[in-house]
Symmetry: C2
């Protein structure tokens, strides 16, 4: 069984040394978020995840959730662990003080989330969805809605969900059928069936607040007729206390490849009372508040999975004796060398490590952009941050979930046959992480959001703020001899990124399918270049610390060597993606749909 250790040293490196979190917090007015405070919070989160949450990961997979007529029972220990989570005040961390929160930066919650997700993907989804529900109500709800629903969600005694998908529509939400009819008292009556509702029913909290999209009869067809509602499992009295049961029921739970500890529910709304959030027919826009936050969360799951799998694989690779090193015996006293001596095992470990640590840097940077979006007063800085966030969110979501999944697959390979056996926990990480490539918009959907909606849709404008940062960093460091090995390739690939964008844009004028044909390869290309940039920035910090005579030289040297690995052995994969893009979409579209099989 895996033993999870929170990567505290690396988190500090990213938050404090790479991203100067204290100055960032202070500038945004988060006076309480000192380095000491952050350290203490991370240490506590490490303790909770290592000692309480991680030990429930395997049992959650084995037992799964149990549906019964009155609800869903979570696996043994989940209820007690969630109680500890609430008692520890974790749900309140980044929430507004007005509603009982601690008022700490949102980024801190994102940083902490990685630990929970590494420890137990399924468990972490229960509180994870509450954050999105809270963000949606806070951004778009009325004062009354906030008063009624937020305090208990912040406290963690209630949890939230996001109800979008229906049996016949997932990506294409404009087709939804759940209807919301206006009641005399101004509330709505919702009827319809939603599927794939994570944490849709469970026994961890007193109430579940569903954020639901539905159609008000007479609304325009498609995306322009979608409205958003708060639909609680139990209705809520004016004083915020729980009233009668609402017409919301869990019809069944899914049997899945992974995340078995989380209940994925069919939720039936039978004339359930709902409360409109925002204006009628503007629901999809409001929903994006939820989805953008959720997408960063899913990107973080990729990082978390890479980290967890790396830890397991590293321990095994040091312990498992098999074959001798081709360059000479390394363990003469043993019957064979530990497999970590073999280059291909190292390739897999370093792939995992560079995904986990590089991904952590990217996520932590996005988390700071989220903070700026929330708290920055200067409009130009705020818009700059939001533009970068809009660009990098789909990249992070798809690239890090795909690479996180790849990392878990390497973890299985390092274990050989043992990796395929449930007992070791490595295959569970693969099964759990596959969902991250699917939910909150598949990799294909993220790629279209990036390339079609955001890049082609803004004629490339959206690229500029981030691109400017990359260029500035390269220019500042191109004359630094130790940085040349990082800067030169990044400049070349960044140039190619720009050329690919221009070329796809030109081709799309003649054939709009060129966008879809290039989209996933384009996103992956962008992902490798983006992560390379963060690796170069980390190398820079490490070089500085070594130059200043740090007594942690081995840590910083490892950072530089991992950066070298990423630049030399991961970034070149982008060449394959570029070459595929350059060959265009024709060979994808040529086949008639009836000619795919005979």
């Amino acid at each position: 069984m895996l033993e999870y250790k929170a990567p505290i040293r690396d988190i500090k490196f990213v938050m404090q040394e790479l991203l100067g979190c204290e100055a960032h917090y202070q500038r945004l007015g988060y006076q309480d978020a000192t380095v000491d405070m952050v350290d203490a919070i991370i240490a506590e989160a490490a303790k909770l995840t290592e000692q309480v949450i991680a030990p429930l990961n395997q049992v959650g997979d084995q037992q799964g959730c149990t549906w019964h007529e009155n609800g869903v029972t979570t696996p043994d220990g989940f209820k007690e662990a969630y109680k500890q989570y609430v008692e520890g005040g974790w749900p309140t961390l980044s929430q507004s003080e007005e509603f009982g929160g601690q008022g700490l930066p949102h980024s801190l919650n994102i940083n902490i989330s990685e630990l929970f997700s590494s420890a137990n993907h399924s468990f972490s989804m229960y509180p994870g969805l509450s954050h999105g529900a809270l963000a949606t109500i806070e951004a778009h709800g009325t004062a009354t809605q906030k008063q009624l629903f937020m305090p208990s969600l912040v406290e963690g005694n209630w949890t939230g969900t996001m109800c979008l998908t229906e049996p016949h529509c997932g990506t294409d939400l404009g087709m939804l059928r759940t209807k919301a009819e206006l009641n005399e008292d101004g509330s709505y009556s919702l009827t319809g069936t939603k599927i794939f509702i994570s944490a849709g029913e469970h026994d961890l909290s007193d109430n579940i607040v569903h954020i639901v999209i539905a159609r008000i009869p007479g609304s325009p067809e498609g995306n322009k007729g979608i409205s958003l509602f708060i639909v609680p499992k139990f209705n809520v009295n004016q004083d915020g206390s729980i009233a009668d049961r609402n017409g919301v029921n869990c019809g069944s739970i899914e049997h899945k490849m992974g995340i078995n500890g989380n209940a994925t529910c069919v939720i039936n709304f039978d004339g359930a009372t709902g409360h409109l959030i925002g204006k009628p027919n503007r629901g999809l826009k409001c929903m994006f508040t939820f989805m953008n936050a959720a997408r960063i969360g899913v990107a973080n799951e990729g990082v978390a999975a890479a980290e967890a799998s790396f830890q397991g694989a590293l321990a095994y690779a040091k312990d498992r004796l098999q074959m001798r090193s081709i360059s000479g015996v390394k363990n003469p006293d043993g019957p064979a060398d530990p497999i970590i001596v073999h280059p291909d095992v190292r390739r897999m470990l370093l792939t995992q490590k560079s995904i986990a640590e590089g991904g952590r840097a990217l996520i932590s940077y996005l988390a700071q952009l989220v903070d700026i979006g929330h708290a920055e007063q200067n409009v130009d800085i705020k818009i700059d941050a939001e533009t970068k966030l809009a660009l990098l969110t789909p990249i992070a979501k798809a690239f890090l979930s795909e690479l996180g999944f790849e990392a878990t697959s390497h973890g299985v390979q390092v274990f050989g046959g043992h990796g395929f056996i449930k007992e070791w926990g490595m295959e569970q990480l693969m099964r759990d992480t596959k969902i991250s490539c699917i939910y909150e918009g598949t990799t294909g959907v993220q790629a279209l959001d990036l390339l079609a909606r955001k890049i082609i849709g803004t004629q490339g404008e959206i690229l500029k703020p981030f691109s400017k940062d990359v260029t500035a960093f390269c220019q500042q460091n191109m004359a630094v001899p130790e940085m040349a090995e990082f800067i030169q390739p990044i400049m070349a690939y960044a140039k190619q990124w720009h050329e690919l964008t221009v070329s796809i844009g030109a081709k799309a004028l003649k054939n709009p399918d060129e966008i879809g044909g290039a989209s996933v390869d384009y996103l992956m290309f962008a992902g490798y270049v983006t992560l390379a940039y963060f690796w170069a920035k980390m190398a820079k910090v490490a070089l500085q610390n070594i130059a200043e005579g740090s007594d942690e030289a081995p840590f910083y040297e490892a950072k530089i060597k991992t950066a070298q690995f990423f630049i030399q052995r991961m970034l070149p994969r982008a060449k394959g993606h570029a070459a595929c893009i350059e060959n265009g979409v024709d060979s994808m579209m040529a086949l008639d749909k009836d000619s795919f099989a005979f």
Copy 2:
């Protein structure tokens, strides 16, 4: 649930039109193997797999196998299906007439195996391992051993296993501890524990013949002291009938990520009677007879999985309505277009299709090489074929299992959230296929076999016969205008393959770790080029048929378009692998083992 249809038209295309199987059979003296005979056999195999074997795939996954003190019970229906398999004479197909077989070519059995593996990976492993056991006894056993063990194995009333792995050694078989002590009667007494024994115990057959590697006390250490034994579950009387129970017991079965319908056993040998195969201490060499055959079988599992997943994804992509095509509405009467209109969905489907069909061509070619190895009289032709087989077996095993796994992952993505739900069957294909990247030597082990042992080990000599074929094909077709789009890239990549080989060889002289550092990327590069060559050959056949006015033009046009997709959108991935190889091993070896994590 998936509905499997054997891809009969494509199998005929590959066997008959691409590889001229009848002429091949006739030349080798397989007079009975006419095209009509082959067609009839494939039609029967299609019927059996579609109607009997495939419907048991999901139940096998859900129920798994059950261990009890007296043995292992297979999932509901497996026993009856295996009975039908035996009654249909399937185990006898390619076996020697001398021992009750039908004496048909080995290749035919390999072609048929794909159908069984697509239909039900777990089920197909039960008979699959018998073939290897038979091949080993036939190649290395005494006349008495053949008479005692082969007829029942051929008939299928007994099944076989391969017992290599022990808890502390998998790849590194030289470390094995199972000991075999000589008895007075010339038999041996085996004691030890083997793990990961597929089909090690079950209720399908009357006896199980374990092929076991063990160490005779006093043997040299390491690989040079390994001997091979036949150890039956039940001892066998001189007349071939079953005698008393041997000291072989199944201690437990594993709980695994996939292939749950197949019993993966811990097998304890407690003074079990064994019969030496071949000479003492030459067991590993004999074992390779088994393993080479098994590796082609595993490569075929990758093809089979890609085919099965493609079939599921294609049906869903035609049926599922979601979003409109960016290039204009394609299904004006429906609420949305079928997702097969979207370029990225087509990318995934064509990736699956090009892996399945390209892989099928490669496997069928290898199967013919196996035939030549068995039946060719001309020594030069035989050596030429065996050299190609030695080169291409590790490429096929690792490349097709990795790409087969990738294909199953695309299958899940095409289904979106539904792909993650067990009911649809898509995620099972992923879980089942992951083992193909592990057993019979992981991808990393195959890559070392290819690059270290075979290519560097022969100073590139092993490449020549296959390379000559590729060059000859390119030269013959470079002047054919319709072939230029295939031939030009293949020539360029084949040249780069050669350059990479030379460059790695040169670097390895200074640092032998360069081999391990390059190995997996090198194998993948070789895999893409090899499959591109087979796609070009298939395009050539298709072009000829169209030129000759075939009334199956849509089939042949689809072949050409899929070849174009492979060349334009799959082959360029090799560029990424080449660039990684060119950057060398230094960044992999730089990190001290204690500096991987802090």
